[in-house]
């Protein structure tokens, strides 16, 4: 298959430019590895790669456009791909299924597919599949994770221009469409596709052979994989569900699996002492404490500001992450060019006390809800409760097993988890009234901050990067002053792998193990 060269997304008449990133290793061995790795040399074929993941269970699914848990993510990327990709620095590239995605005008994009890509059943990827994929995501009743992102798209008005070209009109201007096209659940599926237990046919490197939800899935090599150059390298990939990290680590040490996701920071030295490796990726993942701005006592902005001043951010990083993270400032999307870093908020107990007193909540007593949804969620709550005690604030931590099942978006004070995203993308997912996961019930309905939505729409429509950054700064200043998030840090993603595994590199992206070794296609046994 044709070698993929660097491309730039062509700026349309509106002048939007997105810089093409480094082409993902295609046909040649990469020379950088995770911590403790050595030069892997040239890729070799063969072997059964076994990955251990936690967070799954009998509710595991396989859907090219939907996930619930991390095991679902791993299975998704093994078989399905997106039009665009993020590289390891979270920059957009055209290394996906699309040859180019151009913005013709603020309300229209044109997507050109690469020619000659085949699905795992031999059928060629064409515009019809793209249309079906968008329609499937855009159908509300399907309940897919990407639905909210289709709000600005006029999917009904999408047109097939020729076998490999699609026109995507928008209902309103939206400069974040390329990022949506690169988000990992926005994959292209064949026309007529349905989720497991229907056959899972994608364009990806491995084809699903068998699947026992809650136990494991087996994927075999796709010999027809469009990237070519010998990819993919393993004969087979097995994804195994584990109930907890202890079992995973023991499995890795015992040689029962070759790699694992979400290695507890404490185990990094254990792995290294046994000749194994930890892949530490400095991502923009965050574990916020979410205060609902419309539920007492957090509806008083002084209480929110006080709570934000209670956190000792560096201690948090030490205790919860064992140092694997960097300081946060109650704002998200740290890799976005518009990310606001000044002024850095620090712990200030006396000011916090003063604010609480002024608000009439001197001896505040609140419930904080959390769950084992991701590594560290419970620890953040615990450590924050201990830190808050210094200011006389009593926090009752509740670790709810039924957390996401019952009240989570109606809670006054809760913990959640997020991965790397760009700013506007994140706003759309969590900071708008119609966002799927708006824990803080932001923005305020009146007074300061009520112009947040109009600012957002302006930013979407702005194609000039400098102007967009200005608007983003304005939005973030509002969130910084009166928002509902406490974001103490950005956590690294730490994964573990054995010495045999080559080709893994740290990545700033959303998914573990460097997008699971790019859908298991860029890693091998050496």
């Amino acid at each position: 298959m044709a070698d993929i060269s660097r491309r730039q997304l062509v700026a349309g008449a509106a002048g939007l430019t997105i810089v093409g990133g480094l082409a993902a290793a295609c046909g040649s061995g990469s020379t950088s590895t995770g911590i403790g790795g050595t030069n892997p040399g040239a890729p070799k074929r063969g072997g059964n790669f076994r990955l251990g993941v936690t967070g799954g269970g009998s509710k595991d699914i396989m859907d090219g456009q939907n996930i619930i848990t991390k095991p679902d993510q791993a299975r998704l990327v093994s078989a399905f791909e997106t039009l665009l990709l993020f590289d390891e620095n979270y920059q957009l590239t055209t290394n996906g299924l699309a040859e180019s995605v151009t913005q013709d005008n603020p309300r229209q994009y044109t997507i050109r597919l690469r020619k000659g890509i085949e699905f795992q059943n031999g059928k060629t990827l064409t515009a019809d599949d793209v249309l079906y994929s968008f329609q499937r995501i855009g159908t509300k009743a399907n309940g897919l994770t990407g639905f909210a992102a289709t709000a600005t798209m006029d999917i009904a008005g999408m047109k097939k221009l020729d076998t490999y070209t699609v026109r995507l009109p928008l209902k309103s201007p939206d400069a974040t469409v390329p990022q949506t096209l690169a988000s990992y659940t926005f994959c292209i599926v064949p026309a007529g596709y349905q989720a497991y237990p229907h056959p899972q046919i994608g364009t990806g490197a491995y084809k699903l052979k068998s699947f026992t939800p809650g136990a494991q899935s087996v994927h075999v090599r796709n010999p027809n994989y469009w990237r070519g150059g010998g990819k993919p390298y393993f004969d087979q990939v097995t994804i195994v569900d584990f109930s907890d990290s202890t079992a995973q680590v023991n499995g890795l040490l015992g040689g029962q699996i070759d790699a694992m996701t979400d290695l507890p920071a404490a185990q990094v030295q254990v792995l290294q002492s046994r000749g194994m490796h930890a892949l530490v990726s400095k991502t923009g993942g965050w574990l916020p404490l979410c205060m609902a701005i419309d539920i007492p006592p957090f509806n008083d902005v002084r209480v929110r500001q006080a709570m934000r001043l209670l956190v000792d951010r560096n201690h948090m990083i030490e205790q919860v992450l064992s140092g694997y993270g960097f300081v946060g400032n109650d704002l998200y999307a740290p890799f976005d060019p518009g990310y606001l870093t000044e002024p850095q908020r620090n712990q200030d107990i006396s000011e916090a006390k003063r604010l609480l007193k002024a608000a009439g909540h001197q001896n505040l007593n609140v419930d904080l809800h959390t769950t084992n949804g991701a590594a560290g969620m419970v620890d953040v709550a615990t450590v924050f409760a201990n830190q808050a005690a210094a200011a006389g604030v009593k926090i009752n931590v509740h670790n709810d097993p039924n957390y996401y099942g019952t009240q989570y978006l109606k809670l006054g004070f809760s913990i959640d988890f997020w991965g790397t995203r760009s700013y506007l993308n994140q706003v759309q997912q969590g900071s708008l009234p119609n966002s799927p996961y708006n824990e803080t019930h932001w923005p305020p309905k009146s007074g300061t901050g009520s112009n947040f939505i109009s600012l957002y729409n302006q930013a979407l429509a702005t194609t000039d990067l400098a102007k967009r950054i200005e608007i983003e700064h304005e939005m973030q200043t509002l969130e910084y002053d009166i928002g509902g998030y406490i974001i103490p840090f950005f956590n690294d993603l730490i994964d573990g792998y054995s010495d045999k595994v080559k080709g893994l590199r740290p990545s700033k992206g959303t998914l573990n193990l460097d997008y699971f070794g790019h859908g298991f296609s860029s890693i091998w046994f050496g």
Partner: protein, 300 residues
């Protein structure tokens, strides 16, 4: 640990002679080394639990050093997964287990004795109904019932107490009934009935004292098991406060660091082991004394 109802042990060495009074049984059992060791262990750990929080060098939630640090740097046994002092958390962690186990066993004991004695005394259809009810509860492993209860309502302390008490009741009831049945047939009971002594007086004044031997054995078995069950529930992760300094929870949280910072898990394991050994020894001491008394009586 699989508990066996005292009635089964009694079946192996049946009491055919008048049961011994409780206090003398206790006193005599203390003559055995094993009972003394058992009492010693239990007293030691109860003291640890009560006094512990006051002598702990740090608060159980205080950040002392980097997570999973080995002993040193002001932490005698190192730190746990969140950088908290292992020793302090151990000293804080006995209270909840002991209190919960004690209350749950006591509640189950009282309810079970009442039911068992009433069933033995009634000796008719009511007896059958009660015992079938007990069978229904006993149709599940104790831990399964506790799991479902906690999942339905949440891991509140009262839920755990109710779940454990509920599953303790039938086992106590069986023993109480089994020990009371031979007594119920005896003449002095019939005498009391003829004299018009009120039923509850007969139950608790005449029947109860004569069943205390097997009951005490069973109660200590139940206590041992309750402690183990509460620790197991915490180990599985079913607690309300995720940072509770609870011994079972400590094992769970620190197990992952066993290879380089074992104290976080080993200390609570030792504590739980000593505690359950202690209660087990006490129960065994009482049982041996009772059997010994019967054996010597039988030889007379």
């Amino acid at each position: 640990m699989i508990p066996v109802a005292g009635a089964d042990m009694a079946a192996a060495a049946p009491l055919e002679t008048p049961p011994v009074r409780a206090t003398s049984l206790l006193r005599r059992s203390l003559r055995l080394w094993r009972t003394r060791i058992g009492v010693g262990l239990v007293v030691l750990l109860v003291l640890l639990a009560i006094v512990g929080p006051f002598v702990a060098p740090y608060g159980s939630g205080t950040f002392v050093a980097a997570p999973n640090s080995p002993p040193g740097k002001g932490a005698a046994f190192g730190t746990d997964y969140l950088g908290q002092d292992v020793l302090s958390r151990l000293l804080d962690g006995g209270r909840s287990i002991l209190l919960l186990a004690f209350i749950a066993t006591a509640v189950g004991l009282i309810a079970g004795v009442v039911i068992g004695l009433v069933a033995a005394y009634a000796r008719n259809a009511f007896d059958d109904v009660l015992m079938r009810g007990m069978d229904v509860i006993m149709a599940f492993p104790q831990i399964m019932l506790a799991l479902v209860a906690v999942a339905v309502v949440g891991a509140h302390p009262w839920v755990i107490i109710v779940a454990i008490a509920l599953t303790t009741v039938p086992r106590i009831a069986r023993v109480a009934r089994g020990a009371a049945l031979p007594v119920v047939e005896r003449d002095f009971i019939a005498c009391s009935e003829a004299m018009g002594v009120p039923r509850w007086r007969i139950l608790f004044g005449d029947l109860l004292p004569n069943t205390l031997g097997p009951l005490m054995v069973e109660a200590s078995l139940r206590m041992t098991y309750s402690i183990g069950l509460i620790a197991a529930l915490a180990y599985i992760g079913l607690t309300i406060n995720p940072n509770d300094p609870n011994w079972g929870l400590m094992i769970r949280e620190n197990q992952i660091a066993l290879t380089f910072q074992p104290w976080g898990a080993v200390l609570p394991i030792i504590a739980i082991a000593l505690l359950t050994m202690g209660t087990g020894l006490i129960g065994d001491g009482i049982a041996r004394t009772a059997a010994g008394i019967d054996r010597s009586r039988g030889a007379e």
